[in-house]
């Protein structure tokens, strides 16, 4: 698996695969390896946490698999497509269709209503207005904000705003959801609610979810925890708080 020359196996089993992933930043004096040859596979429908201390390469890894940045070396397969070779405009299209981002600071557009915020990715992908409306309605029900289409983000609590952001991430039915410290700005109770929504989406909608966090309590609620240190996967553990009852391994 660590042999980068080996041709990646085509498979529908994995949503995300990386092979010998390196990211090197050049400073004036030295080369810094943010990622040190990472190999990982995330199955379709899996819920995974990536944890590690600051500077472990968490964010860099997130940028790589979110197609926001390119690796210095190695391959990233999303849905069996090698995204490291895509040109910028195709990459944008790829992010639009395959990735759903959830950020620590929600990143909602303050002037726009909840509905507009959620449908932003769908506008870009050219979904019809009617289809968008239905989808927004459905997603708001899913995240427990039914009927709040016309609210402005600043009239919502932090937890509610993050729910809107989750709905936005889901609107184009992406291959996976990439959440960057989704509970980082929330109190523990609200954080739990967000975690439960993510679990619900994972279990009910079979959505693949990758959470980058240093909140170990949140990580413990996922199926698998990847511990990053110095740009490498140091170890893998199981999350003990992940509710097993509904989950079926594919």
């Amino acid at each position: 698996m660590s042999d980068s020359k080996k041709k990646p196996r085509r498979s529908r089993k994995y949503a995300i695969e990386t092979y010998d992933l390196w990211k090197t930043y050049k400073t004036a004096y030295e080369e810094v390896h943010a990622l040190h040859g990472i190999d990982l596979k995330i199955k379709n429908g899996e819920m995974v946490a990536v944890v590690g201390p600051s500077g472990s390469g968490k964010s860099t890894l997130l940028n790589m698999i979110g197609a926001l940045d390119r690796p210095s070396k190695g391959r990233i397969l999303i849905d069996n497509t090698d995204i490291t070779r895509l040109k910028e405009s195709t990459l944008a299209r790829f992010r639009n269709r395959k990735v759903g981002f959830v950020f620590q600071t929600y990143n909602l557009i303050a002037r726009s209503k909840v509905e507009k915020n959620i449908e932003l990715p769908a506008i870009m992908s050219g979904t019809t207005k009617k289809a968008r409306k239905n989808r927004v309605k459905d997603l708001l029900e899913l995240v427990g904000l039914g009927g709040m289409q016309n609210r402005k983000p600043n009239t919502l609590s932090g937890g509610q705003q993050q729910r809107v952001a989750i709905a936005r991430a889901l609107v184009n039915e992406p291959t996976f959801i990439l959440a960057d410290e989704p509970t980082g700005n929330l109190d523990s109770k609200t954080g739990d609610e967000i975690a439960n929504i993510l679990i619900k989406i994972n279990q009910e909608r079979k959505a693949t979810i990758v959470i980058v966090t240093h909140d170990l309590e949140l990580a413990d609620k996922t199926q698998r925890i990847l511990h990053l240190r110095d740009g490498k996967v140091e170890k893998e553990t199981e999350g003990f708080s992940y509710p097993m009852k509904n989950f079926k391994d594919k």
């Binding site: 926001l68 990143n107 932003l120």
Partner: protein, 421 residues
């Protein structure tokens, strides 16, 4: 992606910063309005001068006693030539001069059936009126003959003033005029009021010629007596064979009288006014052009600030899959929206401004005011080519102004944009 959806997003962003967007629009409006009103005023002025020239015979030289009339700058003491029958004979003999029409002028108070009016009276040979105003036509009655000492012809706006709802005077009725002249009694000046009655022999149709429409005419002999001119004319019309001869004839007369006489060629005068006007509008036009560029810089500043403020938003849009091109178009749309709104409002404001300017010019100049009463009004003219030119210029400038901020926005990396707190 749907272009309409994209426009909606752009307008949403503009709408969020109403004051700033509005002020930027205002910057564009000012430049466009300035240019539009100036163009309108300049074209209107040209038309006005051409109209006036059209009502006046082009082959006319107006000879006045002194040369101060046409010169720009402070009035100077200039030598005067007394315009007498002697002068008339001299000018008649100048090669190229066809007719010579001397005239007396005086301002009187005229009374007619209870109404009172200040009127300029001109005493001249009315049989030759056609040479001066080729389109002069009597509405009714007859011209005053040179031997008639009580007959009077009225210009259209004397008989039908725009500030009266009934005619001031009718044909056949008589009017009284009062003329105040200064007499010397030893060393002391004494004001003498002359009173005389005249009979209206005929009334002219409206000609558009400011003089003819606003003057009353009597015979030269009657004017000489009324104004106590003692045979000294106020001016002489010299009619040349052809308008093209004006210059040569002017030179010939100058040879005789030197600088001691005033010679005005209405044609040359019109050209001079047009030239001065063109220079003036050209200068202000340059200022207007600069203000349009300032408006463009305003757009750059506003949008650039907006891009800086919205780095997170742009980062988010890129993260959720908006392409560089889409973001470029979004910001360009904002600058085009500002530009278009500015141009449209500017054109409207400029048109309004041109009318206001004309009104202002007419009011500040009493002579022009009387003419505005008389219907010979100047109105701004908006040539489609001028309007299109301003429109395109402002539009293109706003697109260019939007390019840099839009390009900056499209090049923002989603990672750094999202990281920024």
């Amino acid at each position: 992606m749907n272009l309409i959806e994209l426009f909606k997003l752009s307008f949403g962003a503009l709408n969020e910063r109403k004051v700033r967007s509005g002020l930027t629009v205002l910057m564009v409006v000012i430049g466009v309005a300035l240019m539009t009103s100036l163009n309108g005023l300049g074209a209107g002025m040209d038309n006005f001068i051409d109209d006036q020239l059209g009502t006046l015979g082009a082959n006319i030289l107006i000879i006045t006693p002194s040369d101060s009339g046409t010169a720009f700058g402070p009035p100077q003491e200039t030598p005067e030539t007394k315009l007498t029958s002697q002068t008339v004979q001299t000018i008649e003999r100048v090669h190229g001069v066809e007719h010579v029409i001397p005239y007396y002028t005086g301002v009187v108070t005229m009374r007619s059936s209870g109404e009172e009016k200040t009127v300029t009276i001109r005493g001249m040979d009315m049989d030759k009126i056609d040479y001066i105003a080729p389109n002069a036509e009597l509405e009714s009655g007859s011209l005053v003959s040179t031997t008639d000492s009580v007959g009077m012809n009225l210009g259209y706006y004397i008989a039908y003033p725009s500030d009266l709802d009934k005619p001031f005077a009718k044909r056949g009725q008589s009017v009284t005029v009062e003329y105040t002249l200064v007499e010397m009694e030893g060393d002391r000046e004494k004001l003498v009021v002359e009173k005389k009655s005249f009979q209206i022999k005929g009334i002219f149709n409206e000609t558009g010629n400011m003089n003819l429409d606003n003057f009353a005419y009597i015979s030269p002999a009657a004017a000489n007596a009324l104004f106590d001119k003692k045979g000294v004319y106020d001016g002489i019309y010299a009619i040349t064979k052809d308008a093209d001869d004006n210059e040569v004839v002017e030179e010939r007369i100058r040879k005789i009288y030197g600088k001691n006489i005033g010679i005005i060629s209405p044609k040359a005068l019109a050209e001079t006014i047009k030239d001065v006007m063109a220079q003036f509008t050209g200068f202000i036009g340059a200022v207007a052009l600069v203000s349009m560029f300032v408006g463009a810089v305003g757009i750059i500043t506003t949008l650039y600030t907006s891009v800086m403020e919205r780095t997170r938003e742009i980062g988010l849009l890129k993260a959720i899959g908006y392409s560089n091109r889409t973001i470029l178009i979004m910001f360009l749309t904002e600058s085009i929206a500002i530009g278009l709104l500015g141009v449209v409002l500017g054109l409207l404001a400029g048109a309004g401004g041109a009318y206001a300017l004309v009104q202002f010019l007419m009011q500040s100049d009493p002579e022009a005011q009387s003419s505005s009463q008389s219907g010979a009004t100047m109105s701004p003219v908006f040539r489609p080519t001028d309007v299109l030119e301003v429109f395109l210029l402002a539009f293109i400038l706003s697109v260019i102004a939007g390019l840099y901020p839009a390009w900056r926005a499209s090049r923002l990396s989603p990672i750094t944009a999202l990281r920024k707190e």
